[in-house]
C-alpha cells in the first residue's frame, strides 16, 4: 500500500500534505506526532473512511474484498455482544447476507483469538472485559479480516504499562511472523522506539518525516518535534542535574550497576573515574546477595542504605 502526493484534512483545513508513503509487508510502523497533527485523519483516510483532499492512495491489488482492516478509537456500546461475536465481524466481508459462518470463517476467528491469546475468553460479554482485553479483542477482529494491512489508531491509550507493552509486542510479532504491514498511531514514544521497524513523525509544518527510530533519535528529529523537556533520547533516560559536590566512582556490572548508577544520578551525585570522594564497589556475598562496599570499609545491604550512608558521612563532614 502506498500514497502519492497525498494531502489530508477537511476541505480547506489541510493537516498533512505531500505524503509519499509506503507500507511494506512485515513491518511495524509507528506514526507519531503531537495532538491534532492529523494522526487519526491519516488513518481514516488510508482506510478509505474519509476522502483525501488531494493525491492518490494505492492499495495492494489483491482479490480481498476489503484491503485494509482497522482498529479505531470509536466507541460503541453493545452489552450483550460476546468476544466471539465481535471477532466474527471480521468475517463480514467474506460471508453472505444470512451471516452463516463457513468452517473457514470459524477457523479464521479461532486463529485470530489464539493469536491474541483470548481463545479462553471467546464466550465473555464485552462489558466484562478489561480495557486491555477489549483492545486485544478489537485486534483479533482486525486479524480475522485477513487483510495484508492493519491500521490502528491509539490502540494503547488508557492502558497500563504492562498492557501497552503486551499490545506493542504483539503487533510487532504479528507484523514479522505473518508478513503484515501494520501502522500504529501512538503517543508512546518509549515503546515506539523499542518496537517499531520504522517511524513516521509528523510535525506542525504539514510535513512528515520517516526513518528508522535510531536515525531519527541521532539526527534530533524527535527533539525538534516533541520539544522534550528533560528527557534525553540518546541515553534513553531522564536527564539529571548534578546538585551535589561529592563525587562518586562506581565499579560493578550488569543490572545492579545500571540501577545503582540510576539512584546516584537521580539523587544528584556526579559520577567520576578519577579522584572520587567516595568509591563504591558492587559485590556479591556468599549467598549471591548484593552488597555495596564504600571506600573498602563499609558494607551496605541495599541501595537505600548506601544512599543514607553517603548522606550521613557528607553531613558529618560538614559538621566538622
Amino acid at each position: 500500500m502506498s500514497t502519492q502526493d497525498l494531502t489530508i484534512g477537511y476541505g480547506n483545513n489541510v493537516l498533512l500534505s505531500g505524503l509519499n508513503l509506503s507500507l511494506c509487508p512485515g513491518q511495524l510502523i509507528c506514526f507519531m506526532g503531537p495532538n491534532g497533527v492529523g494522526k487519526s485523519t491519516l488513518i481514516r483516510t488510508m482506510a478509505g473512511l474519509q476522502r483525501q483532499v488531494a493525491g492518490t492512495i494505492r492499495r495492494s491489488s489483491s482479490e480481498l474484498p476489503t484491503p485494509v482492516s482497522v482498529v479505531l478509537t470509536d466507541r460503541f456500546t453493545a452489552v450483550y455482544m460476546t468476544v466471539y461475536e465481535l471477532v466474527a465481524f471480521g468475517r463480514y466481508p467474506y460471508i453472505s447476507w444470512n451471516l452463516n459462518l463457513s468452517n473457514d470463517d470459524k477457523e479464521s476467528i479461532h486463529r485470530a483469538l489464539q493469536q491474541v491469546k483470548m481463545d479462553g475468553l471467546a464466550g465473555k460479554k464485552l462489558h466484562e472485559l478489561s480495557d486491555g482485553q477489549m483492545q486485544l479483542a478489537m485486534i483479533a477482529r482486525a486479524l480475522a479480516q485477513d487483510t495484508s494491512v492493519i491500521l490502528l489508531d491509539e490502540p494503547t491509550a488508557h492502558l497500563d504499562l504492562n498492557n501497552r507493552l503486551e499490545i506493542m509486542n504483539l503487533l510487532r510479532d504479528l507484523a514479522h511472523s505473518m508478513n503484515k504491514a501494520i501502522l500504529v498511531a501512538t503517543h508512546e514514544l518509549d515503546l515506539a522506539l523499542q518496537t517499531a521497524d520504522e517511524i513516521w513523525l509528523a510535525g506542525h509544518d504539514n510535513q512528515l518525516l520517516t526513518g528508522i527510530p535510531e536515525d531519527l533519535i541521532l539526527n534530533g528529529a524527535f527533539d525538534q518535534i516533541f520539544q522534550l523537556k528533560g528527557f534525553d533520547l540518546r541515553t534513553g533516560q531522564v536527564a539529571h542535574s548534578i546538585s551535589l559536590q561529592d563525587t562518586v566512582r562506581l565499579a560493578g556490572s550488569g543490572f545492579e550497576y545500571r540501577w545503582t548508577k540510576n539512584a546516584l544520578e537521580r539523587v544528584g551525585y556526579p559520577l567520576v573515574e578519577k579522584d572520587p570522594r567516595f568509591s563504591v564497589v558492587i559485590k556479591q556475598g556468599v549467598n549471591n546477595e548484593l552488597m555495596w562496599e564504600v571506600d573498602g570499609r563499609h558494607t551496605l545491604k541495599s541501595i537505600r542504605n548506601l544512599l543514607t550512608y553517603l548522606k550521613q558521612s557528607q553531613n558529618a563532614r560538614q559538621a566538622d
Binding site: 473512511l49 482497522v70 460503541f76 450483550y80 455482544m81 461475536e85 465481524f89 444470512n98
Partner: protein, 339 residues
C-alpha cells in the same frame, strides 16, 4: 448458540397462541371456547351469527393486532439500530405526525373553507394517512441524501414531527367540536374494523418488511459498531441507510394508515426482546420482535376490551398504560439497557 435461545422462542410462541385464544374468546357477546375452536376449525356453529362474529370481527381484529404489533416492532428495531439510540421508535422520522396532519386536514379542513374531501369515509382517511406518511417519507429521503450522519437525521425527524403537530393544533383550534372529536378518535388508534382485503394488504406489507430487514442483516449488525467500522467491513453505508429508512417507513406507514398512530409498541418491544434474548444479533432479534410485538398488541387489545363489558377503551391509552410499567420493571431488573 441456538440451544440457549430455544426456551425464549417457546415462551414467545406459547404466549402468542394463548393471547390469540384469549383475545378471540373475549368480546361483548359471550361465546363458549369450544364453540370458537369449532368455528375456527371450520365446523358449523350452533348459532349462525357466532360464525360471523368470530371470523369477521374477532379474527380480523386479532390478526390486525398481530400484524400491527409485528410491523411496528420491526420498524422500531430498525430505527434503534440505525440511530444507535435507545429512545428511537418507528415514529422518530415524523411519519405518524405527517399522517395525522393529513388526516386532520381531511377531517377538519372544512373549518377554514377548504373542505378537501366531501365525505370522510374510512378509505379517504386511509388514503390521507398514507399520503401524509408518504410525503414525510419523501422529505426524509431527500434530506438523508444530503446529510452524512444519523444524529442530524434524528433531529430533522423530530422537527418535522413538531411542525406537523403544531399545524394540527391550529386546525383543531379552528374546527368545530364534532370534527375535533372525529379526529381525536382517529388519534386514539383502532385495531378493529379492518376487512379481509385490508388485512391481506397489511400481511403483504409486514412480510415484505421482514424480508427487506432480513436482507439487511449484515449492514444492520455492522451498524452496532458505528459507521466507520461498518464501512471498513465493506458495508455500503449510504445505500443501506436508505434501504433501512425505506423499510421502516413502509411498515410504520401501512400500520398508521389502517390503525391510526399507535404509540409505544415500536419503542418498547425491541428493548424487551433484547433483554429476553440477551443479544444484539439482528438475525435473532428481527423474528423475535415480530412475535413479541404481536403478543404485546394482543395483550393490550384484551385489556382494552375490559373483559366482561361491552365497553372498549382506545388502544393507544392501553399500550402505554400497560406497557410502560412492564418495561420499567424489566429495565430495573436488568439494570442496564443498550441498543
Amino acid at each position: 448458540m441456538k440451544q440457549t435461545t430455544l426456551k425464549q422462542w417457546f415462551l414467545l410462541l406459547f404466549l402468542l397462541i394463548s393471547c390469540l385464544m384469549l383475545n378471540v374468546s373475549l368480546g361483548s357477546v359471550n361465546i363458549p371456547l369450544n364453540e370458537i375452536l369449532g368455528i375456527l376449525a371450520g365446523k358449523k356453529s350452533s348459532e349462525e351469527v357466532w360464525t360471523s362474529i368470530v371470523w369477521d370481527f374477532r379474527m380480523t381484529k386479532a390478526l390486525t393486532c398481530i400484524l400491527a404489533g409485528g410491523a411496528l416492532s420491526v420498524a422500531g428495531l430498525l430505527m434503534q439500530t440505525l440511530f444507535r439510540n435507545a429512545l428511537a421508535g418507528p415514529d422518530v422520522l415524523g411519519l405518524s405526525s405527517g399522517a395525522s396532519l393529513a388526516v386532520a386536514l381531511t377531517i377538519m379542513g372544512e373549518a377554514d373553507g377548504l373542505h378537501l374531501l366531501a365525505d370522510p369515509s374510512p378509505w379517504t382517511i386511509v388514503g390521507a394517512a398514507s399520503g401524509g406518511c408518504g410525503a414525510v417519507f419523501a422529505l426524509v429521503v431527500v434530506i438523508s441524501r444530503k446529510l452524512r450522519d444519523e444524529t442530524s437525521l434524528l433531529i430533522i425527524g423530530l422537527m418535522i414531527g413538531a411542525t406537523a403537530a403544531s399545524l394540527v393544533s391550529v386546525l383543531q383550534f379552528l374546527s368545530n367540536a364534532d370534527d375535533q372529536q372525529m379526529f381525536m378518535i382517529w388519534t386514539f388508534g383502532s385495531l378493529g374494523g379492518l376487512n379481509w382485503t385490508e388485512i391481506i394488504i397489511l400481511t403483504v406489507v409486514l412480510l415484505s418488511g421482514i424480508l427487506i430487514a432480513l436482507s439487511l442483516l449484515k449492514p444492520l449488525n455492522a451498524w452496532l459498531l458505528g459507521d466507520h467500522y461498518a464501512t471498513s467491513l465493506g458495508v455500503n453505508v449510504r445505500a443501506s441507510r436508505f434501504l433501512i429508512i425505506c423499510c421502516a417507513c413502509l411498515l410504520t406507514g401501512a400500520v398508521t394508515a389502517f390503525c391510526g398512530p399507535i404509540a409505544f409498541v415500536g419503542l418498547a418491544v425491541p428493548h424487551v426482546t433484547r433483554l429476553l434474548f440477551k443479544t444484539h444479533d439482528q438475525k435473532t432479534l428481527i423474528p423475535a420482535v415480530v412475535l413479541a410485538g404481536a403478543v404485546l398488541m394482543l395483550c393490550c387489545d384484551i385489556l382494552a376490551q375490559l373483559p366482561g363489558t361491552a365497553f372498549v377503551l382506545p388502544i393507544n391509552a392501553i399500550t402505554a398504560l400497560i406497557g410502560a410499567p412492564v418495561v420499567i420493571s424489566i429495565v430495573l431488573q436488568a439494570k442496564r439497557v443498550a441498543v
